[in-house]
């Protein structure tokens, strides 16, 4: 018999640590991508402003990542202690995707530490390469980890057999990354987090800049940027739909012989190229708009097109992949879908996602961006957290959803003995205490003793 306290505290500990973890790692992921863009732009334009912003953001990234990383370890150990069978099934079936995520963690953290400590101490190109490794590693982590969430939503690649009255879950040899729920979830995680971080960065750079006059009134580049963006999205949609068609076709004929129809692939390639072309046009138009804003060029905000463009692209893509993720859940995970639908969360998510896109677009306007960046940061954070929390909570009382039913949490809870309740309670108290200490340290680091260049990473001899 499974001790009931293990179910309760198992869910509580995982919920609390998961909340803390994703709250922090969302910013880690976004910053890991945006920071190298700032640095590269700085070197390409020969402008120290971008490099200075990249450096300050890295200082924040390092501190947040340390705390977020600890929470990841907490989550893993709590999962192992309270839900051993679930972890076993996940790691057995998802050996390679989870290993990919682990490799991502390792690459990201080491690159991040090197990136920070070797600032100004190594060649420009080498430092940028380290930054790109940091971004790649950070992107690999949610990519691999989303396979676990996908498996819980739709156990693709799992063989369920019964022997001696016991049910066994093992791999059926299918690639878990082909789980139809997986890719939209992983990509939504990427773009939602990049969007929310873009808003935070935009707010940060806006608050640092002293704006004396308003922007120039030249809207032609903005209009052409919007048109290009729409066209880019249209071709992206075409490319994705063509690829999916090819995938479905090839799967359908796999048993009768190889598919010979390459037309969807060719049209997907053409659509992708066109999508990238229009994306490039959109980006160059937006940049032009800022450069045209001569009145504010010297004071900073004119250079803030990086977070604006990043917010627009990622919020639009997060809307797209949210839509795809929800439609896949409707198709493959009906229990989860109906739970989301009945609680109206579904509509809130879509509304929030649209609102975030809108806020990102109006952030093009310099005056408005001062307010829209903060609002965008709050709403996009809320969108990301709401999706993560609601999609996980909606599985209850099941841990793994199988169609309209599932396998209950109680089935997976540690049955060996009742883990002393004092352990999680002490854990929560320590989280609270250390969070306060951590926030106080951040306050000291950014407001009392801010990083302003210097050879922080080198020893004095």
């Amino acid at each position: 018999m499974v001790p009931i306290s293990n179910v309760f505290w198992g869910l509580s500990t995982v919920a609390v640590t998961f909340f803390f973890h994703i709250f922090l790692v969302s910013v880690v992921l976004g910053l890991s991508v945006i920071i190298p863009i700032y640095e590269i732009t700085g070197y390409l334009k020969g402008d120290r402003y971008y490099i200075s912003i990249a450096r300050k953001l890295t200082s924040y990234l390092i501190r947040v990542d340390l705390f977020a990383g600890v929470m990841a370890t907490w989550l893993t150990v709590f999962l192992g202690a309270y839900w051993p069978s679930l972890v076993y099934i996940a790691t057995n079936v998802l050996l390679y995707p989870v290993s990919l995520a682990v490799a991502g963690i390792m690459i990201a953290i080491v690159s991040m530490a090197l990136y920070w400590y070797t600032w100004d101490r190594m060649g420009r190109r080498a430092h940028i390469v380290v930054g790109l490794f940091m971004a790649a590693g950070a992107l690999m982590v949610p990519f691999g980890m989303s396979s676990i969430i996908s498996l819980m939503d739709y156990p693709y690649g799992v063989k369920v057999t019964t022997s001696l009255g016991l049910t066994f879950f093992t791999s059926n040899g299918k690639n878990p990354l082909m789980n139809p729920v997986f890719l939209p979830l992983a990509l939504f995680s990427w773009f939602a987090t990049i969007a929310l971080t873009s808003f935070i960065v935009l707010y940060y750079v806006n608050s640092r800049a002293v704006r004396e006059t308003g922007p120039a009134k030249n809207y032609i580049p903005v209009i052409s940027a919007i048109i290009s963006s729409v066209l880019s999205l249209l071709f992206l949609y075409l490319a994705l739909s063509r690829l999916e068609l090819y995938y479905v076709n090839s799967r359908a004929v796999r048993e009768t012989g190889p598919a010979k129809n390459y037309i969807p692939v060719i049209s997907a390639i053409i659509s992708s190229v066109l999508s990238l072309l229009f994306l490039y046009l959109a980006l160059s138009r937006l940049e032009l708009y800022y450069v045209n804003s001569r009145a504010v060029r010297e004071t900073g905000p004119a250079k803030n097109y990086i977070p604006v463009i990043s917010a627009i692209i990622s919020s639009v893509l997060s809307l797209l992949f949210l839509y795809l993720a929800l439609s896949r859940l409707e198709q493959y995970s009906p229990y989860l879908w109906s739970a989301l639908k009945s609680s109206s969360v579904l509509y809130i998510l879509i509304a929030l996602s649209l609102l975030v896109v809108l806020l990102s677009i109006i952030s093009i306007h310099l005056k408005i961006s001062k307010y829209s960046s903060l609002t965008g940061a709050v709403f996009s954070y809320f969108l990301f957290m709401l999706f993560e929390i609601s999609s996980n909570v909606s599985r209850y009382p099941y841990m793994i959803v199988t169609g309209n039913t599932g396998i209950t949490a109680q089935t997976f809870a540690n049955p060996l003995y009742g883990i002393p309740v004092s352990i999680p309670i002490v854990g929560f108290a320590i989280i609270a205490l250390m969070t306060v200490t951590f926030l106080f340290t951040l306050y000291l680091a950014f407001f009392v003793y801010p990083v302003e260049g210097g050879h922080h990473g080198n020893v004095d001899v």
Binding site: V2, P84, I109, S111, L416, T437
Partner: protein
């Protein structure tokens, strides 16, 4: 013996190349590399705070900013080594869960409490490292207050290490299982503490895993057959083996890190980089810390050896080189029994204790006999290195004692200062060698068991095939992280020196 070692090495290479290795063999290879890479970085989090805080305390006490600056420079190492340590720690942790997935049964049972407490220690350590670094130089009046934050880091890192070592110690000596291990497979094992583990469930686990492997966990229902496993989830923390292991590892880490620090100062003095007086101050303190730790390590090593003799007799025989038919070992005899003539029965005697059909017991003896020459070599490499470290430590006092100075000068024909300068490098090398061989002895000696006398390696490895390609990729990544970490250390501590440095 050399011939036998060579043959074994060729056998291993042949097995690896011919693809005859099992998943457990392949997985073990990546685990070995991962643990050593992790260990290299974690020792800086584990013991280096002692060096840093000693320097800071001296600086505050004497009002000498040089020492405080050394502490500041030393604490910068935490950033890079902590990052690399955390990364490789994550790797080891995931390796435990992903590659050795059957060990989830251990995590869910006896290791749950120590591992969860380790989490708390880990967060204390990491948050306080951030606070320590951020507030360095900021305490103008209450400098001891800053030291207090550093002590918090030390507390967190040591509590974390203790808890992890408690899990490892339980894998060596499964404390709380009473006579179950001796009744199950290994009759020479004495009673392992009070019986707080349900013997029926432990036996079920121990006998089921060899048949179904780690896939036992793939059925939540099957796992429920092990309910009511223990009545005392805290027992692993109070295992007598962990007391010895913790002290032994703490002093080992302290010796390595303080000798590395003294090597750094020696390097600067020899290369004439920076202020020589400043470097000598640092060298004296770090070498002294290494010396004190080396002396204390002798007692901790003795404590550890006694635990080995008491609880893992077959491994003791192998490490001490006791022949299978038994023999005499005067040093061990006098240490353990107070006389020179105690006869130590070898593994043949242990084998004679095995009941009919005890396949795992026979496998244990066979494994011990196979690895005996390697274990003996590794063990004595550690012991002899430790003895030389103590001699180096005594020689260090020549800086303060005329008698010792004269002995050093007459024996080695070098100046005392030269002895200390080059002794630092020797100390660093020997302490790392002792650390590597010591840990190898511990882990290799436990073959074929994951938990000594309860669960074997083959029982807990992931039921999916661990391919050589996968192993190779992970090992490459581990080596990459190791090199990246070293590169980071070089960039922070050495590149500046090459540029000519400058005065502090």
């Amino acid at each position: 013996m050399l011939q036998r070692l060579t043959i074994q090495a060729f056998q291993l290479i042949y097995l690896a190349v011919s693809g005859s290795w099992s998943s457990a063999n392949t997985a073990e290879l990546m685990t070995i590399v991962g643990i050593y890479v992790h260990a290299f970085f974690l020792i800086f989090a584990f013991a280096f705070p002692i060096v840093v805080l000693t320097l800071e305390a001296i600086g505050i006490r004497r009002g000498d900013e040089d020492y405080i600056r050394m502490a500041w420079n030393g604490s910068k190492l935490w950033g890079i080594t902590f990052a690399a340590g955390a990364v490789t720690g994550t790797l080891v942790e995931f390796g435990l869960i992903v590659v050795w997935s059957g060990s989830l049964a251990l995590i869910a049972s006896m290791a749950a409490a120590p591992l969860m407490l380790e989490l708390y220690a880990f967060i204390i350590e990491i948050v306080l490292i951030g606070t320590y670094l951020t507030t360095f130089w900021r305490f103008k009046r209450r400098k001891w207050g800053h030291l207090l934050i550093g002590l918090g880091v030390l507390f967190g890192s040591n509590l974390s290490a203790y808890m992890i070592l408690a899990v490892n110690a339980w894998m060596q000596v499964p404390w709380g299982t009473g006579n179950t291990v001796s009744h199950l497979f290994l009759p020479w094992v004495p009673s392992l503490g009070p019986l707080v583990v349900n013997p029926v469930k432990l036996k079920l686990l121990a006998t089921t895993l060899p048949i179904v492997g780690s896939s036992l966990l793939s059925s939540p229902g099957a796992f429920q057959l092990l309910s009511n496993f223990t009545t005392d989830p805290w027992i692993a923390i109070f295992n007598p083996e962990v007391y010895a292991t913790y002290l032994h590892n703490l002093f080992a880490a302290l010796i390595i890190t303080s000798f590395l620090a003294s090597s750094y100062f020696s390097y600067k003095i020899i290369k004439r980089v920076g202020d020589e007086r400043y470097s000598w101050k640092g060298l004296r303190v770090t070498f002294l810390v290494a010396t004190v730790a080396s002396f204390l390590q002798a007692f901790a090593g003795d404590f550890q050896g006694r635990e080995l003799y008491l609880y893992q007799r077959n491994i003791f025989d192998a490490t001490e080189g006791i022949p299978a038919k038994g023999g005499y070992d005067p040093i061990m005899s006098i240490l353990l029994y107070g006389n020179l003539n105690h006869f130590f029965p070898g593994t043949n005697y242990l084998s004679s204790l095995l009941p009919q059909g005890d396949v795992l017991g026979q496998l244990t003896i066979a494994s011990t006999n196979t690895y005996a020459p390697v274990l003996h070599l590794l063990y004595y490499t550690m012991v002899i290195s430790g003895v030389i470290l103590i001699i180096l430590g005594i020689g260090y006092f020549g800086l303060y004692s005329t008698i010792i100075r004269k002995i050093v000068q007459s024996l080695l024909r070098i100046r005392e200062e030269t002895f200390v300068l080059y002794g630092s490098f020797a100390g660093a090398f020997l302490s790392i060698l002792a650390g590597i061989t010591g840990w190898a002895t511990r882990e290799l000696g436990r073959h074929p068991w994951t938990v000594y006398g309860v669960v074997t390696y083959n029982d807990v490895v992931n039921s999916r095939i661990i391919t050589p390609l996968f192993t190779g990729a992970i090992i490459l990544l581990e080596i990459g992280i190791f090199l990246a970490g070293l590169w980071g250390i070089y960039m922070i501590f050495f590149k500046n020196l090459k540029r000519g440095g400058g005065s502090h």
